[in-house]
């Protein structure tokens, strides 16, 4: 096989779905940060001022969650943790030093990507549940104030973890060349697949 041959990694609908989540995440993240800390309140200007930021944020969040559920269903089966993932994690030093040749063969996703997937699942569910608990004026009134306070705290914590996780995700996409093209145009070269996801490529060819 010619190493420059392109193989499909993400279908059209998978890519569109991913970018709907990504755009909603950026908007929810920026509007959330505007309300999170006074030092970032200037971000509310992007959404038409404080009140509009506050009004729009939960709706953006709901769009993000709905799109994420669809993405989660698509990728769920590819992210089950396997024994070789533990070996991959043990060799994290080889991972960050670009010494992939020393790592066990990787399927569609490596252990790092799988961990990020499950972290995102946990954070997204936490965000939507706790977000509803203090969504004023519609839902917050039905819950005791102690629960609303706990929800606010957990919402911020989950958002913080998710934002950090997505910073890592974005950085990994910049670091591993070809990843952004995979999610933008849908294809990767055979060479890219051999280097980063050999087991996935073999599976794909054998099909």
């Amino acid at each position: 096989m010619n190493p420059k041959t392109q193989v499909e990694r993400y279908s059209d609908s998978e890519r569109v779905n991913h970018w709907i989540v990504a755009i909603a995440f950026i908007l929810a993240g920026l509007s959330g940060l505007a309300m999170f800390h006074p030092a970032l309140f200037w971000l509310s200007n992007l959404f038409g001022g404080g009140p509009w930021t506050r009004i729009l944020h939960p709706f953006i969040g709901v769009v993000m969650f709905a799109a994420f559920v669809s993405l989660m269903v698509r990728f769920w089966g590819h992210n089950k943790i396997e024994p070789r993932d533990l070996q991959w994690l043990k060799q994290w030093r080889d991972v960050v030093s670009n010494r992939e040749d020393r790592l066990p063969e990787v399927g569609r996703y490596n252990a790092g990507q799988k961990l990020l997937f499950w972290l995102t699942v946990i954070c997204m569910i936490t965000l939507v549940v706790t977000g509803v608990l203090f969504w004023r004026p519609w839902f917050a009134g039905y819950f005791p104030v102690a629960l609303v306070r706990l929800a606010t705290l957990l919402h911020s914590a989950a958002a913080t973890v998710l934002i950090i996780g997505i910073i890592v995700h974005i950085y990994a996409a910049i670091w591993i060349k070809g990843s952004i093209r995979a999610m933008m145009r849908g294809t990767v070269s055979v060479k890219w697949a051999e280097k980063h996801h050999m087991a996935w490529l073999r599976e794909k060819i054998n099909k």
Binding site: K4, I167, I174, W175, K177, K191
Partner: protein
Amino acid sequence: MNQLVQSRPEPAATAKAPPRTYDAERSMADILQVATAEFADKGLSGARIDEIAAATQTSKRMIYYHFGSKEDMIEQAGERIVDLKERGYQNAGLYDPQGVGGTHVMYVLKHADKPQIYHGLPADPHISPMVGLWKGALKPLALLAMGVTALAGFFHYVKVGPNDADADDESAETPAKH
């Protein structure tokens, strides 16, 4: 011309003389309202007379004229408490709970020992530890963690560089060419 300008305020001042007391009372009430909110928000040491003046229709100088300093205002409440005690309200006092950094409005209560009887004012309100954690430690730490993660990524790229499967051969050949 000069004469005209100088003579103008005279009739106006006389005409406005009777409502002046009323204006003074209204201005004092306005200042009191803003000041109590300001003190309640920021506490005795945090409140600024400049900010109170900016939020009212009056000047800083007039606030001092009407009420004196911040301590004077607390003192004024103290006088009213003494007055109430003389009239038999032994437990009169100022309701300004420090556990929440003061209330939105400072109250002089006839029964300050039982604030609950005033529409359920809590006796010793305090900030929930959950709110304290959220507003205190978590926010700066969370922002710091986000910034550190982004910086770690940047410096990882600087040190290790990109992982480029498609360019591996070319980069291996480059040194040989030169």
